[in-house]
């Protein structure tokens, strides 16, 4: 019997926990930048006069928000890529980014809630941005549940791509509708007109944290993507083996 040939795409099977240099580099960069972000957020940045130490959650909350939206943007791009090219890479990318995005969104909602309790005096308020984010969370929970409730892999990939695209297109409309509905969230202090309304040391801490979280997102997606690609390989090999036996 001939050996079964491996599929010809980059995710080569490996034994044990073995990473290629690029992933290793990303992992190192994530570790260093995350340590720097922790230092900047907890020690370097000055304590806010009114809110006190609680304000430091801002240096995690804002980067989490940014990476969440980035993740779901990538899901949309992957969806378009999949419908256009039909290659399994795009599907794996969409799935990886949606899972990581859901994790980041959950953390964003939790950190926001922790901050809101002492500052607003409530865990939750039906403010525009909070509501949009909560609905975003539900859309991608649905996205992942949809994937796992379709047996045919290629159908699951196509449906997921469609929901990924429609969901992302819907976010601005959802946001607009809940803004008109009500808004209470603190006005953007970074993108305020006439420059950011905070001292430079705070801006620097936020910037470091943004970079760190973006790298973290890239690392998580890369690792998740590898797992997904290996799973696709296994499925392909199993199918070939079955064909051979038949």
């Amino acid at each position: 019997m001939q050996p079964i040939s491996l599929p010809d795409h980059p995710a080569k099977p490996v034994t044990g926990f073995h990473l290629d240099p690029k992933t290793l580099f990303l992992l190192g960069a994530a570790t260093i930048s995350m340590l720097a972000a922790l230092y900047a957020a907890l020690l370097y940045a000055p304590t806010e006069r009114v809110q006190g130490a609680v304000q430091r959650i801002f240096y995690f909350h804002v980067p989490l928000a940014w990476t969440s939206y980035l993740a779901f943007f990538v899901v949309m791009v992957a969806g378009i890529g999949y419908l256009w090219k039909g290659t399994p890479f795009w599907d794996a990318l969409g799935r990886a980014s949606a899972e990581v995005g859901l994790l980041l969104t959950t953390m964003m909602l939790l950190t926001g809630s922790l901050w809101a309790r002492p500052i607003w005096g409530t865990w939750w308020s039906w403010d525009a941005r909070l509501t949009t984010t909560l609905l975003l969370w539900f859309i991608y929970v649905g996205y992942l549940m949809l994937r796992s409730s379709v047996d045919d892999e290629r159908k699951a990939a196509r449906y997921a791509a469609v929901i990924g695209i429609v969901g992302a297109l819907d976010i601005p409309i959802i946001h607009q509708s809940v803004v008109w509905w009500r808004s209470l969230h603190p006005e953007s202090v970074v993108l305020a007109s006439g420059g950011p309304a905070m001292p430079q040391s705070m801006q620097l801490a936020l910037l470091i944290s943004l970079v760190a979280f973006t790298i973290l997102y890239a690392v998580l997606v890369t690792l998740r993507l590898r797992i997904e690609r290996l799973r696709q390989d296994i499925r392909l090999l199993r199918r070939r083996a079955l064909e051979r036996m038949a």
Binding site: Y159, V162, V166, V178, W180
Partner: protein, 229 residues
């Protein structure tokens, strides 16, 4: 999409498909009968869940109305593709040399008509039961715009959900978060039509119209990827 020689014109196809769906509904009367009774029942049951008084009726009642419409709509969207599957007629439809977009558009139009009939029956009952005064022109316009948006997205999601294992769960799970703008805008504009102290109705109606255009266009474009077997 390149059109093959001798293909039936697009609009003729859509009209034939709508006629076919309406005829099937006329013979079974599953959706209209069930949907109308369900919508009316929602109006009655919510009356027990929420304490409605004369002074807050115009602000609270629109929410109840649209919950009823949304649930009745989701029931009928789910039915429409389940029926095709049970009778095996979807395969025949897919084998026919017609544009996939036409199938989407026809199904969305049928769903809108069916939901519209349910709403036309429910609205007078709603106005009577909740003792509200309605500006009918505004109310009907809001209902029409809201219904188009809801069925536009609902038809797409129902086609997806019909192929999943837990389809009764997947349809509302995917559809409700996506259609939140429709629900908010419809409720607000309806409240205005009932004379509540809400904001102006115009921005809400514009939002509804914008949503309708975007969701129908996007669904129309991606529908062929869903029906491809």
């Amino acid at each position: 999409m390149p059109h093959a020689q001798g293909r039936t014109p697009f609009l003729v196809t859509v009209r034939a498909l709508v006629w076919r769906d309406l005829l099937a509904e006329y013979r079974s009367r599953e959706v209209l009968g069930g949907g109308t009774v369900f919508a009316l029942l929602t109006l009655v049951v919510f009356n027990f869940a929420i304490d409605l008084r004369l002074e807050n009726a115009a602000e609270v009642a629109p929410g109840i109305l649209w919950i009823g419409f949304a649930f009745a709509g989701m029931l009928s969207f789910g039915r429409s593709f389940a029926n095709e599957r049970e009778r095996g007629t979807l395969d025949g439809l897919l084998l026919a040399p017609i544009d996939r977009g036409a199938i989407y558009l026809a199904r969305a139009i049928t769903n809108t008509i069916l939901m519209g009939v349910v709403e036309l029956v429910s609205l007078p009952v709603f106005v009577a039961l909740y003792n509200v005064r309605a500006a009918w022109g505004e109310l009907l316009l809001t209902t029409a715009l809201g219904t188009i948006g809801f069925t536009g997205a609902g038809t797409l999601v129902a086609a997806i959900a019909a192929n999943t294992r837990a389809r009764e769960i997947m349809l509302p799970l995917l559809l409700l978060p996506l259609t939140v703008p429709v629900l908010i805008a419809s409720v607000k504009a309806t409240a205005e039509a009932l004379g509540a102290r809400a904001a102006e109705p115009l921005p809400w109606l514009q939002l509804l119209a914008g949503f309708d255009v975007i969701v129908v266009a996007a669904s129309f474009l991606v529908f062929e990827y869903i029906l491809d077997e």
